[in-house]
């Protein structure tokens, strides 16, 4: 009887409150993950269209599928979709790349190729075009699910935002 009274009087314990608090933290964490790191199942065409509409096409020209092989050593046919824009000026490093990989296993290979391309370009321009090296150092690289996006441009951050919004 005494025990029953004790049970009835007891409010939610410290652990009861804490577990709901942790649950809220988990939900908040998942929301953050979804906003900042998730990929998308939207088709490549839709993402490409959205990114293209944000690009400054005065400086950037679309490069054919051979460009990916030439610049990055990657075969377009291996991926679900490839979009590559590059500056036609020899003294410009501006470049925008969007790739959708077929499976997660390909991502590391693509990422390595992109890093290598940035390093090679830095070596090419080091010493005589410091503003281009700065662009390369401030390159925006984003991996979201099966999509990889790279922007080397003065408006790189804006391009990256456009990519993130398109997902």
């Amino acid at each position: 009887m005494m025990q029953e009274k004790n049970i009835q009087r007891r409010g939610p314990g410290k652990n009861m409150i804490l577990k709901y608090f942790v649950l809220v933290m988990i939900i908040a964490y998942i929301v953050v993950l979804m906003i900042y790191t998730s990929g998308s199942t939207k088709s490549f065409d839709k993402i490409e269209q959205a990114v293209e509409s944000s690009l400054d096409t005065e400086n950037l020209t679309k490069v054919d599928v051979q460009g990916l092989k030439r610049y990055y050593g990657l075969n377009s046919a291996d991926y679900d979709g490839v979009m590559l824009y590059s500056s036609q000026k020899s003294m410009s490093t501006e470049e925008v790349l969007l790739i959708k990989v077929k499976n997660d296993g390909q991502m590391q290979h693509v990422r390595d190729a992109v890093q290598k391309r940035i390093e090679n370009r830095k070596n090419d321009f080091e010493g005589y075009a410091p503003e281009q090296v700065k662009l390369l150092e401030q390159a925006q690289l984003s991996v979201r699910g099966k999509y990889l996006f790279l922007a080397i441009a003065p408006k790189a951050e804006a391009y990256k935002d456009a990519f993130a919004k398109s997902l």
């Binding site: 049970i7 652990n15 577990k19 942790v22 933290m25 998730s38 998308s40 939207k42």
Partner: protein, 470 residues
Amino acid sequence: MLFSSVTFLFVFLPVTMALYYIVPQKFRNVIMLIASLIFYAWGEPIYIVLMVLSILLNYICGLDIEDKRDDPRKMRRSLIFAVVVNLLLLGFFKYYGFLLDSLNAVLPVDIPYRDLPLPIGISFYTFQAMSYIIDVYRGEAKSQKNILYFALYISMFPQLIAGPIVRYVDIEAQLKNRVLSMRKFGLGAEYFIIGLAKKVILANSIGQIYEQIASLQMGSFSVLTAWVGCISYAFQIYFDFSGYSDMAIGLGKMFGFEFRKNFDYPYISTSITEFWRRWHISLSTWFREYVYIPLGGNRCTQSRQIMNLLVVWMLTGLWHGAAWNFLFWGLYYGILLVLEKFVWGRKLERLPSAAKHIYSMVFVLIGWVFFFSPSLGYAFNYIGVMFGAGASAFADKQALFYVFTHWLLYLIAILGSSALGLNLLKQIIGGFNSARIRKVAAGVVYISIFLISVAYLVTETFNPFLYFRF
């Protein structure tokens, strides 16, 4: 980070080991926990937060269940909360994409969705956390008051990303007190080296043959090639996963822990029931303890037993992956186990051993086709080729090339997947009269195996890990 990586073998492990043995005993768990968090964060820097939150949640839920021990209704509610949240977390990260893809396949419109990569090891650590919660609820274990011990139980790097799934009751005492000895360390090192060799030398080499066959166009290969491909995959997955389990058990021993074995030569089985007593034992035990028995197990009507078995095996299939072929693979084994239990089990027992073994292996190999196939359609087509439907021929030069150029590899694989391989190794070492020479021989043999494994690791680029994605 993979055990079979140069960074782990030559940087992470020696540094962790040295610190662990140097510091006073009371700091060993701290070293182990920090090392485990670094190990996980190496490959999954974002998801370390998820694991830490999962640890916090389950730690508090364990205490909450204990708080309510005098009120069974509230205690049950607390258990349900913990289990549901764990399942929702696992479900969200592992199955929500599968669910939406399945919906998209039947709906006239395509629903785009945001997808997240699968956190490595989530299936393993979630199941461990649930085992703790349920054991505390059942009164089989006391709630852990020390968060350091609990965090170590969930995140311990030897078994964090690919099991074995360690039940809390099995390790509760070891978290506080465990014995370190040179003998145990040596035994652990032997386990680890054998596991590494299984993974790097055997699984990776045979895996390359499977990859070549799997890349062939359906209809362009023979019956024999299809069987060689399937057998190669069977060896690859066994040496890959059991190798990783051996490395986990070995590392555990080196740090003073004792984990139960996860594989017991499954390919020598003479029935499917026996196969599942020998394959991924920790997962089968988990499902038996926490799903099959609570559903009623064997102590109910025959129809209910059949239902229980099918439910458990569908869940086992889904645990392995969020895809229809995994669900089908689970159901396939559920049906086979029901048939062995209620239809042909007794007749099977009367068959000669060789016939029973062939029966088991044929069904296991067909099972692997569902497992490795990208879709159910591909699986049925591949099985068709194995039995002549859609095959280019019964045998062709390609199949003979695979068999004759790799016969030694297959022979070692056969020996290694039975007790014969290890017994042979022990005979070589134990063949000397002097105990001192036996010790030297053991050192030479195991160091040689280690060096050969490292040579493979450095020269070969093909180093996948199949159970990683589960």
